[in-house]
Amino acid sequence: MTNNRFFYCALLLTIFSCKERTAQNTPPPAVNNSDSPRVTTTIRYARGFTIDYHDNYKLVHVLDRKGDLTDTLEYLLVQKGHPTPDGHAKAQVIPIPISSFVAMSSMHVGMADFMGIAERITGLGSLQYINSPIVRANIKAGKTIQVGLDGNLNNELLISLHPGLIMAMSNPEATTAKYKTLMDAGIPVILNAEWLESTPLGRAEWVKLMAALVNKEDLVNKKFDSVVRSYDSLVQLASQAKEHPHVIIGMPYKGSWFIPAGESYMAHFIRDAGGGYKWADTKGVGSLALNFEAVAPEALTADFWLNIGYVDRKQDITSKDPRFASFRSFSTGQLYNNNKKTNDIGSNDYWESGAVNPQVLLADMISILHPELLPGHTSVYYKQLQ
Amino acid sequence: MSRRQTLLETQGLEAGYRSRRGKPVPIAGPLSVTIRAGQLICLLGPNGAGKSTLLRTLSGLQPSLAGSIHIMGDRSPAQRSPAALAKKISLVLTDPVRFSNLTAYSLVALGRYPYSGWLGALKEEDRRIIAWAMEATGIEAYAQRKIGMLSDGESQKVMLARALAQDTPLMMLDEPTAHLDLPSRIQIMQLLHKMARQTQKGILLSTHELDLALQVADELWLLQTGGRLDRGVPEDLVLNGTFESVFDKEGILFDKRTGSFNIHSGHMKKIGLAGSGVAAFWTKRALQREGFEVTAAGVAASDIRVEEGVTPIWILATSSGRQTFDSLSGLLDALRNQSI
């Protein structure tokens, strides 16, 4: 069967690649085992999970938002055909490598594409927004079906589908209790928290968790390292800029404007791209709920307006609220929305491949804020609104 | 003589309601009745006979099942619109007034609704009529009190004043004396009688106050369960036995001679009574309560003779002798003890 073939290939690959360990792969912190060397990975940017490598199994911790060990979820990734180790009663056991899984978020699809395992996706929370060509083909062929999101989860369908894993998103309502039925039926459920990462590289680094599930650490390590290198060099490039044009993000709704706080994902991007951000010094990784009025002074004078929302043209902006026309960014036309890479069904790839390619996002942003630094770059995810 | 103008007349009127499936359920009728100016008419009948339904039909609140009503000679439907009727008929109903925040004055002032200005402004004329209505019902003293603060009797008078303020030739009242104490009941009936006479209004009211109705009404309408209505001057109805037969059906005995209902029946023993004054009248009532059938003196085994006066004296003559009492309670005690 195809699955087994993959498994044996992967096994062979890991055995061979062990001989070519590069400096990037640090040895596993546990017992040094030279009988079955394999490729491991180190987490450097992400704060939401850790992986401990052992013989024939990997111990994954998914930490809560604060990064400490309370409310941590444990997962035992056990190589198929090997026994489950003792001593981890609370951990969920996931036999790896998984050959099929169900994904609940766009980023999961993006991660799967990153390491070339998109065809293993047999189920999706919603079929409405998909960019990956492989997955779209599978949907059309009926190989990938819709299983429902959150409260809508179709348990019976999932149980009959019996994927190797369900990759869900953790949020305050989705505790493991919600998935109990499925876990009892023998389907492991892992609750990811990549969306809680506040740094671009940290968020992208969650590909390594998926890599651990399919034993593709080697491939992912290489790819991710190249992502990091590109990203870092871009940061270096942007730091040469003499000016830091001011940026505002998002759009108010009825007098309330949710502005990303100083330690948030977008705030990091702005800083790395050499932009100025009024709320750069505020604490918090989420958004600040501000009054439109409080943001107005900055919005009126900011140079650039990014990630504007569900708009495509300038007139979409003014039809939402004619007052936006007074923003300087509006009159100078420096309006850039992150929905350039949207496909025919209205799905925005920013959330899929964009999430695992922060270096491309950064390049886009630098080319917007400091066009002279990246003259040849064509924006992939951002488009200027006309 | 009063010009007895016909204010309302009906022909073959059937009052009732429609069941859920639209089937007509007749309650009263067919009736052909009239109300004339200056008349006070009391509508009597057992509970459930349909007095309220009839009143609502006559006043236009409810459509009739059959027949016609003509109010002051109106011919076209436009003249039967609520606005037109409002100047012809005013009502006092049993509906509770929930908004107890209104002052008595404001409530009475509402009676001027059909005449007041576009936004409800009151003219001098309106104020005069309101003042008159309040004076007639004697409620000036609590004009500024809230309805919720008034007693039942007082608020009923306020509703009456409101109807008076509406200044219509016809007035219809649905049990205006219910829940009132006796003095208030009498006051209201007196007032209505006076209104009919003085203002030549045609007044129709339904009531359970048989005693008062007999005294005050110019005409009685007796509605029986089943829809039949007998009408006439009260005394005629009593004398020709109609009154008795209507209530007889309900198992209640009306005594023509006294004009009241006998609670007590099934006499067990006879006793003779001699005397013809006030004291004798009341002695007879007491004896009847005790279960005696009272006959003329000399017929029964025992006799009582009443001597009238400021302090009446009762003399009881039995087979065992004579006794004298200076109070009824003494007499009654003796009767009980001697188990006569």
Partner: protein, 352 residues
């Protein structure tokens, strides 16, 4: 009885005091906000004097003044529609929010958005320009009228006041549940926006939308005022009203029209705002000591506007950057008022 001279003087003093309070609240609402703008600058901007910071100009003219006007409109509209409902149902606790009418307005708006828009639900309200504003208003008013009709039909069968309120709450709940079904099947991102909408906001109404809202409310208020006499008659109940010349069908129709115009349009633009409709008519009745609608309707406008402006001022949490949604403030102010009213018992005919 005519008012004595003393009583009239007292009434005039009350009126004058209220007007002063209104003007004060109006200026307070314009003067306060997360950005500190000195009073002098505000005056200059309002009087269109040249010079001065353009950012402040923008804030005062484009953000604060429209919001203040929205507060005025909402204050008038909600209190008068509450007054009318209290009269029609002869229930001192009736108001559009309690009897589900605002829920009906939300439903109307949601329905239109679903039928018309590509992206689901109420999120897209703000997308619409002038023609869209009219569409929203009509949808909101239709929804409000529909629910009100339903409630009136039910009220024929239910005589008890308290039962009526409970039924109103139930109708409102059913309506909101229908909206929830739509939400449930729509994008998770939009749910947050709907949540924001339910909190109520006076800040989102600008330009063309403000004109449409103002017009609809004005129309509703005019209809209301012209039917003052009829409303007075209805206080005694429909039988008495009819005997005084009120055609009950027409009366109900007129009240439905004006209440749906008022509650429907305000809800469509500002989200569901409650408690103003209960509290203000009660205050108006107490302060002006009358049940005459000719006096009460303007009184409700006066008091309602003042109260709404004050709630908006409180909601801005002067001194901080964040703001409380208006619905929360009106609830915090209104609910204790209602409890106090019930405890006082005097004005409540439920117990009378």
């Amino acid at each position: 009885m005519q008012l004595t001279n003393n009583q009239r003087k007292r009434k005039d003093i009350k009126l004058a005091a209220l007007c002063l309070l209104l003007i004060g609240a109006f200026f307070l609402d314009i003067a306060l906000g997360p950005v500190r703008i000195p009073l002098r600058s505000i005056c200059r901007i309002i009087l269109s004097l040249p010079g001065g910071d353009s950012t402040w100009q923008y804030i005062v003219m484009q953000i604060r003044i429209p919001k203040t006007f929205t507060a005025v409109i909402a204050g008038c509209g909600l209190s008068v529609s509450g007054l009318q409902m209290q009269t029609l149902f002869r229930n001192p606790l009736a108001e559009p929010a309690v009897l589900g009418v605002t829920a009906g307005a939300s439903l109307g708006v949601a329905a239109v958005m679903l039928a018309g828009g590509s992206i689901t639900t109420l999120y897209t309200i703000r997308e619409l320009g002038l023609s869209g504003s009219w569409l929203i208003t009509i949808a909101g008013c239709t929804g409000a009228a529909g629910v009100m009709l339903l409630v009136i039909l039910i009220s024929k069968a239910v005589k008890d006041n308290i039962m009526m309120l409970i039924i109103g709450v139930m109708v409102g709940t059913v309506t909101l549940s229908i909206i929830s079904i739509w939400q449930y099947f729509s994008d998770p991102e939009l749910i947050k926006d709907y949540l924001m909408w339910t909190f109520g906001s006076l800040g989102g109404v600008t330009g063309a939308q403000l004109y449409v809202l103002g017009l609809a409310t004005f129309l509703g208020l005019v209809i209301s005022f012209l039917s003052s006499k009829m409303l007075d008659a209805l206080l005694l109940g429909e039988n008495y009203a009819r005997s005084m010349g009120v055609t009950t069908q027409r009366a109900r129709l007129i009240i439905i029209c004006s209440t749906s115009l008022l509650a429907g349009s305000i809800t469509a633009f500002c989200g569901p705002i409650g408690f103003i409709g209960i509290a203000v008519p009660q205050m108006a009745r107490s302060v002006f000591a009358t049940s005459n609608h000719r006096v009460l309707i303007p009184a409700c406008c006066l008091i309602g506007t003042t109260l709404m402006l004050l709630c908006d001022v409180i909601g801005q949490l002067p001194g901080s950057q964040a703001a409380l949604p208006i619905n929360i403030v009106t609830a915090l102010v209104g609910a204790p008022t209602v409890i106090w009213m019930i405890l006082r018992k005097n004005n409540l005919s439920i117990f009378g």
